[in-house]
């Protein structure tokens, strides 16, 4: 297509995009470009997701029937431990921040890169080293302590705990440096005019995550360091026979690991804010509340770690304190869920794949969050601790929420950084598959957990069998859906159709960048617009959106579109007085209609000249006295002129005839 529109839509570009600006594997391995680093992370994370998922399927297959199917005893322990360790440390904690945060967040800020690109690359290599060490445990006997590495068993286990905790130590520092990098980037690389309350909520979420990464992860570092030294040199800090305290390990471990679960979920929540807003074509409801709740959730997360230790020998006083504090930590999350639902209300909802994931998130996170509160009740937790109820709860929040948000974000930004569209119908099918598979896997687990099925058991009483079977079937549906998603994403990377600059009509700065972005992200400096305002973003072709303000398109085209859609203002060149008047009346009429009609979207519809007289009547309801008079006058004048013009040719003809 040679039309100017096409040329504009499919990107620049006077320079190559970031993937083609230099070539060769070496240029990727020593890159300082945050987008390339993010993509390398993404690749590693997706591979780790499949590996961790494979372990999960082995576990679930074993549990299909009571008794040993595939693996039992210590071997079974190794599989669920590795599933946990790989998923937690390699996939979910780095997940959204390291992969998508790295690629997208600086572009959302309009920045050319993160604050410390070399540190960014170092973080990536720390991740890789940690991953290698974790995987290296497998040939040496794997790990069977549970991902939580509780003492005293982790001190005595014959498995190579030392290798694993060295890996965890490196992964911890990868996380710390990423958080540090992002915090400084957000402070120092915002453009003129982007104050804190003009930041996209995704950026707020990454900032809150960074706070937790920097303050909590070092405690994990020292904990695993002490564990390693204890195992190696018998220093005695966690060993009661030498004077130590095994519950102290749990305090140290959970001081990090509770904020860690918020490190997992908060970036997911940031993404969901973006998705829900974009796919409802509405500003996010309660922007400041969501921003504040991200920060307060980050801070409150440090106060509740003892709720993992209610039955570990923690004192009654501490139990009560932590239980009470755990209730407070549900409040910011609830605020966000209410705000998202309010955003959906009267929105112009488009059910694309990312939106399907976002809607799944709303339900699954609500379930996960509420069941977390059940577990926070001291008396209930005594019954539910170490049962499948806990397993189901954390899978709802870690997988049903965080992983779903990750998939949603991946599909949302995939066109932007790869320049390719994934297959939409397949995307929708997999999203639905994930939703149903996930619920089928984990809802039965709530039931059997509350009926006493313990976690981490490879064998069980036959009366739990039906729940396990449902769960295993669900797991396969879920696993297959995720596997297919990853496959079609990889396939689309090479073969997918080229993506437009803004396939979803997003309003934040990354949609102004070329698709894929250039090396320093923007071909011309991005322009700040009002955040989450979709009024001037218009779908010019199916799945191709353009912002019609003159900065983004050629003025002439912008004016055309404005006149056509009835949004002409005094800035629209070539707009007649009548056009402007019609636009004003139309806007007012839409306002009235929006308030009274509950079943229509609140977005303004394009102008229909035939309906104009009706609209004048409606607009009068809200217009002040005399406000519409000049407009009506102009419209009347225009009509008269039009009639005169229409009469002229006829007159001319009749003149001609006469002549």
């Amino acid at each position: 297509m040679a039309t100017p529109a096409a040329k504009r839509i499919h990107g620049p570009v006077s320079e190559p995009d970031f993937m083609n600006v230099t070539k060769g594997i070496r240029s990727w391995l020593i890159t300082l470009d945050h987008k390339r680093i993010g993509m390398m992370y993404l690749f590693g994370i997706l591979i780790s997701l499949l590996v961790g998922g494979a372990f999960a399927l082995i576990v679930r297959t074993e549990l299909f029937l009571p008794g040993k199917q595939l693996v039992a005893g210590d071997t079974y322990n190794q599989f669920f431990t590795l599933h946990g360790a790989v998923m937690v440390f390699l996939v979910i904690i780095p997940g959204i921040p390291a992969a998508l945060g790295n690629i997208i967040m600086p572009i959302q800020l309009g920045a050319p890169d993160v604050a410390f690109p070399r540190l960014n690359l170092a973080s990536f290599y720390l991740w890789v080293s940690g991953a290698i060490l974790l995987v290296l445990t497998i040939p040496f006997g794997s790990l069977d302590t549970g991902w939580t590495l509780y003492t005293p068993y982790s001190l005595e286990s014959k498995t190579p705990v030392l290798i694993a905790v060295c890996g965890v130590f490196l992964l911890g520092f990868s996380s710390i440096f990423t958080g540090l990098n992002f915090i400084v980037t957000i402070h120092k690389f915002r453009p003129q005019g982007m104050g804190w309350f003009q930041l996209p909520l995704n950026v707020w979420a990454i900032y809150a995550t960074g706070i937790m990464q920097v303050l909590a992860t070092p405690v994990l570092g020292i904990t695993v360091l002490l564990l390693a030294v204890e195992r190696f040199a018998h220093i005695g800090i966690f060993d009661p026979t030498l004077g130590g305290d095994p519950v102290l390990f749990q305090h140290f471990f959970w001081f990090y690991s509770h904020p860690a679960v918020y490190i997992m979920i908060i970036p997911g929540m940031g993404v969901i804010s973006e998705l829900i807003s974009t796919f409802s074509r509405k500003p996010i409801f309660g922007y400041r509340f969501i921003a504040y709740s991200s920060i307060s959730l980050a801070l409150l997360s440090f106060l509740v770690w003892g709720h993992h230790m209610f039955v570990s020998g923690q004192s009654r006083l501490a139990n009560m304190v932590f239980s009470a504090l755990t209730f407070t930590v549900g409040i910011p999350s609830a605020i966000k869920v209410f705000n998202w639902v309010a955003t959906l209300y009267k929105g112009d909802i488009r059910l694309k794949t990312p939106m399907l994931y976002a809607l799944s998130f709303l339900l699954l996170f609500t379930i996960g969050g509420l069941t977390g509160l059940f577990l926070g009740i001291l008396s209930v937790d005594v019954h539910l601790h170490d049962t499948y109820f806990v397993v189901a709860h954390f899978h709802y929040v870690m997988m049903g929420s965080t992983l779903v948000a990750f998939l949603g974000a991946l599909h949302y930004w995939w066109p932007k950084f790869t320049g390719r569209m994934y297959p939409e119908s397949l995307g929708k099918i997999c999203a639905i598959g994930v939703f149903f598979g996930f619920n089928l896997t984990f809802l039965p687990q709530f039931v059997m957990g509350s009926r006493g099925m313990p976690r981490r058991y490879w064998d069980y009483d036959p009366h739990y069998q039906i729940y396990h079977q449902l769960s295993t079937v669900g797991a396969f549906v879920l696993g297959i859906s995720i596997f297919i998603s990853v496959m079609y994403l990889f396939a689309s990377f090479k073969n997918g159709p080229k993506a437009p600059r803004n396939p979803w009509g997003g309003s934040s700065l990354e949609w102004q960048a070329p698709t894929p972005p250039t090396l320093y992200n923007f071909e011309k400096p991005p322009v700040l617009h009002e955040l989450y305002n979709y009024d001037d973003i218009v779908e010019v072709e199916p799945d191709v959106w353009e912002r019609i303000t003159p900065t983004e398109v050629e003025p002439a085209v912008a004016d055309e579109i404005a006149k056509k859609t009835g949004t002409a203002t005094e800035h629209t060149a070539g707009a007649t007085e009548a056009d402007k008047a019609a636009a004003m009346i139309h806007a007012k009429a839409e306002e009235v209609k929006a308030e009274s009609k509950l079943d229509e979207s609140s977005r303004a519809k394009p102008l229909d000249p035939a309906k104009l007289p009706d609209e004048i009547e409606i607009a009068k309801k809200v217009a002040g006295a005399g406000e519409l008079v000049p407009a009506e006058q102009k419209l009347a004048e225009a009509e008269a002129e039009a009639k005169a013009k229409a009469a002229e040719p006829a007159k001319e003809e009749s003149d001609k005839e006469k002549k």
Binding site: P16, F116, V184, K188, L225, A233, I237, L242, F252
Partner: protein, 431 residues
């Protein structure tokens, strides 16, 4: 790449006159410096949290088991700690001064300050090495390996590991099984707590032969059949003799057994206590006593028991300080006299320091080594960083426009100093 690069020069607007170390995505030197400053402060915050777990462990043990600290801190030499503190403070000063020199483009001053900081750091590590090697020598180690040779007050211990100077034992300790595999110590049966009832004096130790009869009701009766003073049975070996024998030389007095100075000792042979005391119901808790090594149980004979008969400490006729006075210095093996008044905290601690370590004193050393060790690793890392900076300074990389790395490294160094400022009183200056 170059065309794309050039196209962005006006977007990024960084001066072409500035240091070549201003990175591309920064607007100017100030922007990069500010970003780096924020970054290093966040890193320092992270370091604080990294050490926090050890401070938690310290505080927990201090609050709940204070006796470990009051006993074991005496093993630490305040002198070394204070010198280290002074060295670190001085190096902090030179590090801050280095930043000033860099800001003012005083290259010579910068190099001198960096070099001095590095030298001080080496000095710190040197003293640390001296302290650690002393601890290793005295078996004052962490966790499982805590096996002190002497009490803080100077009393010798019999240790499991056998590596202490002056130790004459040939006990071989199996750490895994937690018991002696060879050799055994017998203790005399003085049963009074020296801390409350005074140290026993004038102990006579005998080797007695006993007959153990088991009555119809299952009760044992122990009857002594003969006794011999231990002095006839033991020989006081010197360290040289013991070493010579160990190397396979001739035994000096093969029929005799080594004698020991009286000292406290842990019950390394819990299955050998005096039957008489047991029958009486008063536990034979090892206290001051003469110890005689008798080799293996079988070798000695099951019917031989060490007995000590001591006189109680003489009544105090005049007040003497338990630590001795210049006229009557304290000597091992000789009776000492307890002050007749209520002991002050200080004196009580001094007296405790003569005795055996409280349970789990090894935890003090665990915490000590963990904290000072981690701190030492950070000092070492600081040395590496400063050496790198020194090389760069010699190459002339730093200008008033670009001195960020010096500033950030100095901040790191100040945190290292800060942590030591707390470690020193917490570990060395306990009362």
């Amino acid at each position: 790449m170059s065309t794309a690069h050039d196209a962005h020069h006006d977007d990024h607007g960084h001066g072409h006159h500035g240091s070549r170390f201003i990175q591309h995505h920064y607007d100017d030197a100030q922007h990069q410096f500010d970003a780096g400053k924020l970054g290093i402060w966040i890193f320092l915050a992270q370091e604080v949290l990294f050490f926090s777990a050890l401070f938690v462990a310290y505080i927990l043990y201090r609050v709940h088991h204070g006796e470990l600290y009051s006993y074991a801190h005496k093993y630490l030499d305040v002198k070394y700690g204070a010198i280290n503190t002074a060295i670190l403070i001085f190096s902090s000063l030179t590090a801050a001064w280095a930043v000033r020199c860099a800001q003012r483009n005083e290259r010579a001053g910068l190099i001198l300050c960096l070099a001095t900081t590095i030298a001080c750091a080496f000095g710190f590590l040197g003293i640390k090495y001296i302290e650690y090697s002393h601890k290793y020598h005295e078996q004052l180690l962490f966790g499982r390996y805590f096996d002190p040779c002497v009490s803080p007050g100077g009393n010798e211990f019999i240790t499991k590991s056998n590596d202490c100077p002056g130790s004459k034992g040939s006990v071989h300790w199996d750490f895994g099984a937690g018991k002696a595999t060879e050799g055994c110590y017998e203790s005399s049966t003085i049963d009074q707590d020296p801390q409350t009832e005074g140290v026993q004096a004038d102990c006579q130790v005998f080797e007695t032969k006993v007959r153990i009869a088991r009555g119809a009701d299952g009760k044992e009766t122990v009857t002594e059949t003969s006794r011999k003073p231990i002095a006839e049975r033991c020989h006081e070996w010197s360290l040289e003799e013991a070493e010579a024998e160990a190397e396979g030389g001739k035994q000096e007095a093969p029929e005799k057994f080594p004698c020991w100075k009286p000292s406290y000792q842990p019950a390394v042979c819990p299955d050998l206590t005096d039957a008489t005391a047991r029958a009486k119901g008063t536990a034979a808790r090892p206290q001051v006593g003469i110890l005689v090594e008798y080799g293996d149980h079988e070798e000695r004979g099951e019917d031989i028991v060490i007995k000590a008969e001591c006189k109680p400490a003489p009544k105090v006729t005049k007040e003497l300080d338990i630590l001795g006075t210049p006229e009557h210095p304290m000597q091992l093996g000789k009776p000492t006299i307890v002050k007749s008044h209520e002991l002050t905290t200080h004196e009580r601690h001094e007296l405790e320091a003569m005795g055996p370590p409280p349970d789990h004193t090894n935890m003090f050393f665990t915490i000590y080594f963990a904290m000072t060790g981690l701190h030492g690793i950070h000092v070492f890392a600081g040395i590496l960083v400063f050496m790198w900076l020194l090389i760069r300074a010699l190459k002339g990389h730093f200008t008033p426009d670009y001195f960020g790395p010096i500033d950030y490294a100095a901040l790191y160094w100040h945190i290292v100093d800060l942590i030591w400022i707390f470690l020193f009183p917490l570990l060395y200056l306990i009362h």
